[in-house]
C-alpha cells in the first residue's frame, strides 16, 4: 500500500487537530484517499476484542470529543470504537471527522469507525456538514472527499463475539429507525411507512440465534447519557452532551472490559463549549457585544 505523500505528517496533523485547527484541502484529499484504501481491506463486519471504549453519536461537538479522550484515555492508550454520526448539527463537524480519520490512519488497529446514517451525501446536505464544509473551505471539495470515503466505512461490529453493535446502514439498519418498544414483543411496521419497531422477544431471539449476549445501539438521545433495557439485553450509548447545545442532557461512553463487563462512563458538556454560546444559540451580536433584540412578529 503506497504511503501518504511525504508532505503529510500524520502526527503533526493530529496535534494540529487536537488544537481545533483545520487541515489544508490537499491534505484532506490525501488522507481521505488513504483511508479509503485502508477501509477496503477491512471486513464488512469487523470483530473487535475488548478492552474497548465505545462511543455513540458526536455530531460535530468537537470539544465534547476531546472531553471523551480526557475521561476515557487518549489514543492509542485506549482502544476506541466509534458507532457513527460524527458530523452534522454541531459547529465543528469538519474538525471532528478530520481528527477521527487521522487517528484511524495513525492507529488502524486501535481505532474503529462505523458508518452512521449521517455519513452519507443525502443527510449531510440537509443537516449541516455540507454547509459547514463550504463555509470553512470556500467550496465543497472537502465535503466530496469525506463523503466518498464514507462509502467505505464498516457497517457493523461485534465485540468479543458477544456484543452486537446495531448499524445505521445496510440490511440491519431497519432496526435503528424505530425505538425498541417495551409494549410490543414482535416486529411491527413503523407508522412512518418505512422501518420496523421491535420488542423484547425479537431482541432475545436475535441474540439466541447468533449466540450473543447483548445488543448495543447509538442514535437515541437520552437525558441520562445511556439506557439499559430488556434485562440488560439491549443498551443505548449517547455521546453528545447538551445535544445541539440546548438539550441539557448527559452523555456517556461504554467501556467494555477484558471479560466483557460493561461500564457506562458518564460525562457532561465540556466547559469550552461556553466560548461559543452566542453562536450556538443563533443570537447575532451588535457592535457593543449585546445580543440584537428579537422583534419577532
Amino acid at each position: 500500500m503506497p504511503g501518504l505523500p511525504a508532505s503529510v505528517d500524520l502526527d503533526e496533523c493530529i496535534s494540529r487537530l487536537y488544537k481545533k485547527e483545520l487541515l489544508a484541502e490537499s491534505v484532506i484529499e490525501a488522507i481521505c484517499a488513504k483511508t479509503k484504501e485502508l477501509l477496503m481491506r477491512e471486513s464488512n463486519v469487523v470483530h473487535v476484542k475488548a478492552p474497548v471504549t465505545v462511543v455513540g453519536d458526536i455530531h460535530g461537538q468537537f470539544y465534547d470529543l476531546i472531553e471523551i479522550f480526557k475521561i476515557g484515555g487518549w489514543c492509542p492508550d485506549t482502544n476506541y470504537l466509534f458507532l457513527g454520526d460524527y458530523v452534522d448539527r454541531g459547529m465543528f463537524s469538519v474538525e471532528t471527522i478530520s481528527l477521527l480519520v487521522c487517528l484511524k490512519l495513525r492507529y488502524p488497529d486501535r481505532v474503529h469507525l462505523i458508518r452512521g446514517n449521517h455519513e452519507s451525501r443525502g443527510v449531510t446536505q440537509s443537516y449541516g456538514f455540507y454547509t459547514e464544509c463550504s463555509r470553512k473551505y470556500g467550496n465543497a471539495s472537502v465535503w466530496h472527499y469525506f463523503t466518498d470515503m464514507f462509502d467505505f466505512l464498516t457497517l457493523s461490529v461485534v465485540i468479543n463475539d458477544q456484543i452486537f453493535c446495531i448499524p445505521h446502514e445496510g440490511p440491519m439498519a431497519d432496526l435503528v429507525w424505530s425505538d425498541p418498544d417495551p409494549e410490543k414483543d414482535e416486529f411491527s411496521l413503523s407508522p412512518r411507512g418505512a422501518g420496523y419497531t421491535f420488542g423484547a422477544k425479537v431482541v432475545k431471539k436475535f441474540l439466541a440465534v447468533n449466540g450473543m449476549s447483548h445488543i448495543l445501539r447509538a442514535h437515541q438521545l437520552c437525558q441520562e447519557g445511556f439506557q439499559v433495557l430488556y434485562d440488560d439485553h439491549l443498551s443505548t450509548v449517547w455521546s453528545a452532551p447538551n445535544y445541539c447545545y440546548r438539550c441539557g442532557n448527559m452523555a456517556s461512553v461504554l467501556e467494555v472490559g477484558d471479560t466483557g463487563e460493561r461500564f457506562f462512563n458518564v460525562f457532561a458538556a465540556a466547559p469550552e463549549n461556553d466560548q461559543h454560546k452566542d453562536i450556538q444559540q443563533g443570537a447575532e451580536k451588535q457592535a457593543d457585544g449585546n445580543a440584537i433584540p428579537d422583534y419577532f412578529l
Binding site: G193, Q223, R246
Partner: protein
C-alpha cells in the same frame, strides 16, 4: 436560572427552561398520552401569562401540546421513500404488515395553549356570572371584510424597549432524519403590550412543510387579550420553488429550508382564527 418571571401591569409572565426529560418521566408521559414523545422532549418547560386580578391564565407546555397531536391514523404522513421501502421488503417482511399504534408521528399539533378561566369569586347567591374567556372575533361593523379585533402589527413593529424576552423549546423531533418538527414559544414584553408566539414548524423532506402559529397579544393598558391562530402549509416542492424564485442559490435554499422564519414567510395561509377576551 430555570425559572424567570416578570410582572407588567396586572399580568405576570413566567418562563421555565430545563433540560430534556429523563427516562422515567418520559415513560409516565407516554403512558398517559398513549403515543411516543419526540426525542427532544422538554417536559418541564413552560411559558405562562396570568392576569393577577381575575386569575385568568394561558400557558404553553409540551404535554398538552402533544395531547393535541392526532392519535389515529387519519393524519398519518409517510416518508418520501415509503413506497420504495415497502416494495423492496415485500419478500422479507411477509407477515409484518400491521402498524400497531398509528399516530401523527410528525407531531403536527393543533395546540393553541392551555387556558384557565378566571377563578370564580361569586358570592353566596350562586349566580354564575359569565366568566370571561377567549371568544371568537366576528367581522368589523364598518368593514365586514376585516375582523373586529386584530393584533396591532404596526405597534409591534416599533422598536420599543424589550423589558422581558425568552425563547423556550417545548419539543423537537428530527423525524429520524426525514426533516424537523419543532414547537417553541417566544415572548417579548414591552411597557404597554406584549407578544407571545408559539410556533409549530414541521418539514417532512420531499413531502410537505407546515407552520402553525399561535400569537397571544396583551394590552397592559386595557387588559385585553387577543389570540390569533394561523395555519400555513405547502408542498415541499412548492416551497423550494418559492425560495428559488425569491433569488436564493441552491445552497441558500438548503439553509432556508431549516429556518422556520424563512419557511413561514413563503408558505400560504390555509386558515386563521382570532379570539378575544377583555379582563377589565
Amino acid at each position: 436560572m430555570a425559572t424567570n418571571s416578570h410582572t407588567q401591569g396586572r399580568f405576570a409572565i413566567t418562563t421555565r427552561k430545563l433540560p430534556i426529560s429523563k427516562s422515567a418521566p418520559i415513560a409516565a408521559m407516554e403512558a398517559r398520552l398513549g403515543i411516543p414523545v419526540p426525542e427532544m422532549i422538554f417536559g418541564d418547560n413552560v411559558v405562562a401569562v396570568r392576569h393577577a386580578p381575575t386569575g385568568w391564565r394561558i400557558e404553553f407546555n409540551a404535554y398538552d401540546a402533544l395531547d393535541a397531536v392526532d392519535k389515529t391514523d387519519k393524519n398519518m404522513l409517510q416518508v418520501a421513500y415509503a413506497k420504495s421501502w415497502s416494495a423492496s421488503r415485500e419478500q422479507t417482511s411477509a407477515g409484518i404488515k400491521e402498524v400497531v399504534k398509528p399516530y401523527d408521528w410528525s407531531y403536527s399539533t393543533t395546540y393553541r395553549g392551555t387556558t384557565t378561566p378566571p377563578s370564580s369569586t361569586n358570592t353566596s347567591d350562586g349566580e354564575n356570572n359569565e366568566t370571561p374567556n377567549l371568544t371568537p372575533v366576528g367581522p368589523a361593523e364598518d368593514d365586514p371584510t376585516r375582523p373586529a379585533k386584530q393584533i396591532p402589527l404596526e405597534l409591534l413593529k416599533r422598536r420599543d424597549p424589550i423589558l422581558f424576552f425568552d425563547d423556550v423549546v417545548l419539543y423537537e423531533s428530527e423525524l429520524d432524519d426525514n426533516g424537523i418538527s419543532m414547537l417553541s414559544v417566544k415572548t417579548r414584553v414591552h411597557e404597554h403590550r406584549m407578544l407571545l408566539l408559539c410556533r409549530l414548524f414541521m418539514r417532512l423532506d420531499h413531502v410537505v412543510a407546515r407552520v402553525r402559529d399561535t400569537r397571544v397579544y396583551v394590552d397592559f393598558d386595557t387588559d385585553e387579550v387577543i389570540r390569533e391562530y394561523t395555519v400555513k402549509e405547502g408542498s415541499y416542492e412548492d416551497l423550494k420553488k418559492a425560495f428559488r424564485v425569491s433569488g436564493l442559490t441552491p445552497d441558500g435554499v438548503t439553509v432556508a429550508l431549516r429556518d422556520g422564519n424563512k419557511v413561514a414567510e413563503q408558505l400560504p395561509i390555509i386558515d386563521q382564527t382570532i379570539e378575544h377576551v377583555s379582563l377589565k
